[in-house]
Structure formats: structure tokens, C-alpha cells
């Protein structure tokens, strides 16, 4: 078993995530690396705000369960070998990696598809929240609402 779902408050090294999913019969790994943006658009005003840093909070046991469910679902849906997901929690400086998803597969097409599906679903279902901290305040970001996240 090379699959894993983890939460960490330490910086994430992309190489160490991507390399852990590599099995000998595989040909390619696709990795999605998300990180804290410096500038975000305020949906209500349309203006651009500068973020000083971010804080991620997770409902940790449920977040891990949801990440594991996503891995299982992806492996049922795509021709992939292994999946690794690591999400960071706590305070993140601008530009630091918040999430890494690596998918290894014999044929790269499936790895691209599965990786894109996984990040979309993770943003919809995994109970983690992001707070943006500005010079003059802070804001808990709300995701897209869906009646049935899972």
C-alpha cells in the first residue's frame, strides 16, 4: 500500500510526497501543489486584497476520513496505482504549500484526470477552513456551498 492521507503543521516537501507514491510498474506521477496566494479578489466589492498570511483549521479526524474516501473513490474511478494527499494546517506564509496531491499511474492520462478530480473534490468535501489575515482584519473563507458534500 502506497496510498496515504495526512495532515501536518510542518512545511510540505513536494518531492517527498510525489516520490512516495511511485511503484515499480508505473510510468508517471502527476502532482498538484496548492499554495497561499498573496492577492485575492473580494467577491462582494470586486477589489483585490493583499493577504499577509493564512491560517488553516481542520476537523482533523473527519478530514482524514474524507481524504481516505476520496482516495478510495479515485482508485475506483480511474486507472491509477497510488495516491498521496498531504494537507497543511496552522499558519502559512504567502507562497507556502497548503496541499499536495500526487497520483501515480501506468498511463499519465489517468493520473492527470484523477489528480484534477481529487483537488476539486477535496475543496468541496474535506472539512478544512482557510482564514485570510490582512493588515486591517481577517476573514474565514467560505467555500462553494453544496447541500450534499458527500
Amino acid at each position: 500500500m502506497y496510498d496515504f492521507a495526512e495532515l501536518t503543521t510542518d512545511p510540505i516537501n513536494i518531492d517527498s510526497v510525489a516520490r512516495r507514491v511511485v511503484p515499480p510498474e508505473c510510468g508517471a506521477t502527476v502532482t498538484l501543489d496548492g499554495y497561499a496566494r498573496k492577492f485575492t479578489k473580494d467577491k462582494s466589492t470586486g477589489g483585490v486584497r493583499e493577504t499577509l498570511y493564512l491560517e488553516y483549521e481542520g476537523y482533523e479526524p473527519m478530514a482524514l476520513k474524507e481524504m481516505e474516501k476520496l482516495i478510495e473513490a479515485a482508485k475506483g474511478q480511474f486507472e491509477i496505482s497510488n495516491v498521496g494527499i498531504v494537507h497543511r494546517l496552522g499558519k502559512l506564509e504567502i507562497g507556502e504549500t497548503s496541499v499536495v496531491i500526487s497520483v501515480a499511474s501506468p498511463h499519465r492520462r489517468a493520473a492527470f484526470e484523477a489528480c484534477e478530480w481529487l483537488i476539486k473534490e477535496l475543496k468541496r468535501t474535506v472539512p478544512i477552513w482557510k482564514k485570510e489575515v490582512y493588515a486591517d482584519g481577517e476573514h474565514w473563507v467560505e467555500g462553494e456551498f453544496s447541500d450534499t458534500p458527500a
Partner: protein, 79 residues
């Protein structure tokens, strides 16, 4: 029976607490818990809320049992 209620992110900030235990009649549903919480923490009333029962998303009609854990939160924003 006693159910533990957890808040995260925006709901923790609006409720002013991160967790509390509430007392309920037997055979209460998850939706009943949510209603009680909204009555108790009126700032949550204007939010579109999601909730989970024992770390699985709840739809509302689940029967809660003594010792269960319910989390109430806004749409997730990880990634």
C-alpha cells in the same frame, strides 16, 4: 442523553466557543440538534451551515445517540 457539538472556523468564531455538550431527549435527530444550536447561538442563524454526525456528513434525519459528536460548520475552504 448528551451530545457533543463542535464548531470550526467561522462557526467557532460566531458561536464564541469551539465545543459544548448539549442535553437532548432520546430519539432526537441531527436536525433537532442543529435547530437547538441555532436558537442558542443566534449569529449562526444567517449562515448556510453543513454538519456532520460522528465525522460523516449528516443530512438531518439521522437519529443521534448518547455520546455522539456533531460538528457544525460553513462550506469548507481547504486546498
Amino acid at each position: 442523553m448528551i451530545v457533543r457539538v463542535l464548531f470550526f472556523g467561522a462557526t467557532a468564531s460566531l458561536a464564541g466557543v469551539r465545543s459544548l455538550d448539549i442535553s437532548l431527549p432520546d430519539e432526537s435527530t441531527a436536525e433537532t440538534v442543529l435547530g437547538q444550536i441555532k436558537n442558542k447561538f443566534t449569529k449562526l442563524g444567517s449562515q448556510r451551515l453543513l454538519y456532520s454526525l460522528n465525522q460523516t456528513y449528516a443530512t438531518g434525519d439521522e437519529i443521534v445517540r448518547d455520546g455522539d459528536e456533531i460538528a457544525i460548520f460553513t462550506a469548507v475552504s481547504g486546498g
